[in-house]
């Protein structure tokens, strides 16, 4: 078996790899290898001019153009606020139930997951502007979000009225908390009066971080965490819904909750 025969056998195999591989980057690299092999075939066939052009355009130029295109379109950009357990950055690594769920979605769509952490009020703006594909980080299903579509509830939670026992009056009205958890923890440590409505993940963060005693009343049971996507991204919403359903049925969601929130 001579060199040309080996190359000609390899060509369909590499072409099949490039066509069938789920990850776009590897598919593009497969195309690049295909072009290099083809250039070698041209060289063996006595056409070095064609081989040089094939290598320059097929293996180098178009591969770069594809890679740059993937960097723009081949990413699932998630705008999220930091809520430990759901989305949390620890020593440069972002983990949490929601991050792992979105990893499943990204893998099924052949995209690379990019999580951008930002203050809660900027998450919606980023998704609405198109800077991010999905909004995450303990977003509650019932809240108003014009121009956006919510995914299904992936994790049920309750809402808790949290008041500081020694600082505030028990009858003080509570308001849903929209700020950053770090600020709330800081003001709790300083002994300021607190009267907020929190979901389970945020409540856990507050009570674990701050030893102060709180007056906690379970208020509403019907709440749940859900991702948001821009209204025009119905394709993404459908894929998200299908992936969450799959994770729920396969028991993967339960494992994730046990791993990150237990």
């Amino acid at each position: 078996m001579n060199g040309a025969t080996v190359l000609l056998i390899l060509l369909p195999i590499v072409a099949g790899f490039a066509l069938l591989h789920h990850r776009r980057l590897l598919a593009v690299l497969g195309m690049s290898v295909f072009s290099l092999l083809l250039a070698a075939v041209f060289l063996l066939a006595g056409a070095p001019d064609v081989a040089i052009t094939e290598a320059a355009i097929g293996a180098a130029l178009s591969t770069f153009v594809y890679i740059l295109a993937i960097r723009r379109a081949g990413r699932l950009v998630v705008a999220a606020c930091d809520v430990p357990g759901l989305v949390h950055e620890d020593r440069g690594v972002v983990t949490g139930v929601e991050v792992d769920l979105l990893k499943l979605l990204a893998r099924s769509a052949g995209l690379d997951l990019v999580v951008q952490l930002m203050p809660p009020d900027e998450v919606m703006t980023a998704v609405r502007r198109g800077d991010a594909d999905v909004g995450a980080g303990g977003l509650l299903a019932g809240e108003e979000c014009p121009g956006m579509a919510r995914g299904p509830v992936h994790l049920p939670t309750a809402r808790f009225a949290v008041r500081r026992r020694h600082g505030g009056d028990r009858s003080t009205a509570v308001r849903p908390f929209r700020g950053e958890m770090a600020d709330l923890i800081e003001s709790a440590r300083r002994g300021e009066a607190i009267a907020v409505e929190l979901d389970l993940a945020r409540l856990l963060v507050l009570t674990r971080a701050c030893a102060a005693e709180f007056d906690i009343i379970r208020e509403r049971e019907d709440a749940g965490y859900a991702f948001v996507v821009a209204e025009r991204r119905q394709d993404l919403l459908q894929r998200l819904t299908a992936e969450l359903e799959l994770a729920r049925r396969s028991g993967e969601l339960e494992q994730l909750v046990r791993r990150h929130l237990a």
Partner: protein
């Protein structure tokens, strides 16, 4: 659903396999059954260029090459026209590149430029030419654009000057093509001396044609890269 997804890759793989089978069959043919190209080689050799392919595409088949260049120019014009950003529309945000890519692109760029220049300038003596050399240089520019950001590079060039240079090379090509007419010779006729075969300054007009085509390909590719990169992928 799954079958429909697999249909296209299967067809494509079958075509590639068929292509490989045909090429393999061509390799296995006896020498006597191959096409005899010696008459073309003989006619190309009269131009004095060492690379027979360059002699053919920039000599006896020069008109084909010129039409190819025109097709490329029209493609660049199309990209420029259709990807022109409407007034007030935001440009795509720059995606920060890793330090590794930025540094390696700076190291690789001179190497790529030298190889691209060599392939273009020696296109009439060794394999290569204006098209492939221009594509190599354009790849180098693309690598740097990916490494340090397209807007930072484009800030160093003036858009109008680039546009003029691009059309200037096209006019230069046509001028070189029509230059023999004032001298009472037919268009496309070789005017420059043949030189010593194998020397850098040989092959008549093949070398200037290669240089002009290489410049045109680099400038045109840069316009395409620049317009593609500053868009969000939507027209």
């Amino acid at each position: 659903m799954r079958v429909r997804h697999l249909a296209l890759p299967t067809i494509a793989c079958t075509l590639v396999t068929a292509f490989c089978a045909v090429v393999w069959h061509g390799f296995s043919l006896e020498g006597s059954r191959r096409v005899d190209v010696s008459p073309w080689v003989e006619s190309a050799k009269t131009l004095g260029a060492g690379n027979v392919v360059s002699s053919i595409i920039l000599g006896v088949r020069l008109m084909d090459t010129l039409v190819e260049v025109l097709v490329f120019a029209v493609a660049v014009l199309g990209v420029r026209y259709f990807l022109e950003l409407p007034h007030g529309r935001a440009r795509a945000e720059e995606i920060p590149e890793s330090h590794l890519v930025a540094v390696s692109s700076a190291i690789l760029l001179p190497l790529i430029l030298v190889i691209g220049g060599y392939v273009t300038i020696y296109g009439h003596l060794s394999p290569g030419g204006g098209f492939s050399g221009g594509a190599i240089v354009a790849t180098g520019l693309l690598l740097v654009a990916a490494g340090v950001g397209v807007e930072r590079i484009s800030a160093r060039f003036r858009e109008t000057a680039l546009e003029r240079a691009e059309w200037g090379t096209l006019v230069g090509l046509l001028g070189l093509l029509l230059l023999p007419i004032p001298f009472g010779r037919l268009p496309l006729t070789d005017l420059l001396p043949r030189g010593t075969p194998g020397a850098l300054l040989s092959g008549g007009t093949v070398l200037p044609y290669n240089l002009l085509i290489g410049t045109k390909v680099v400038l045109g590719s840069w316009v395409i890269i620049h317009h593609f990169l500053r868009h969000r992928g939507e027209i």
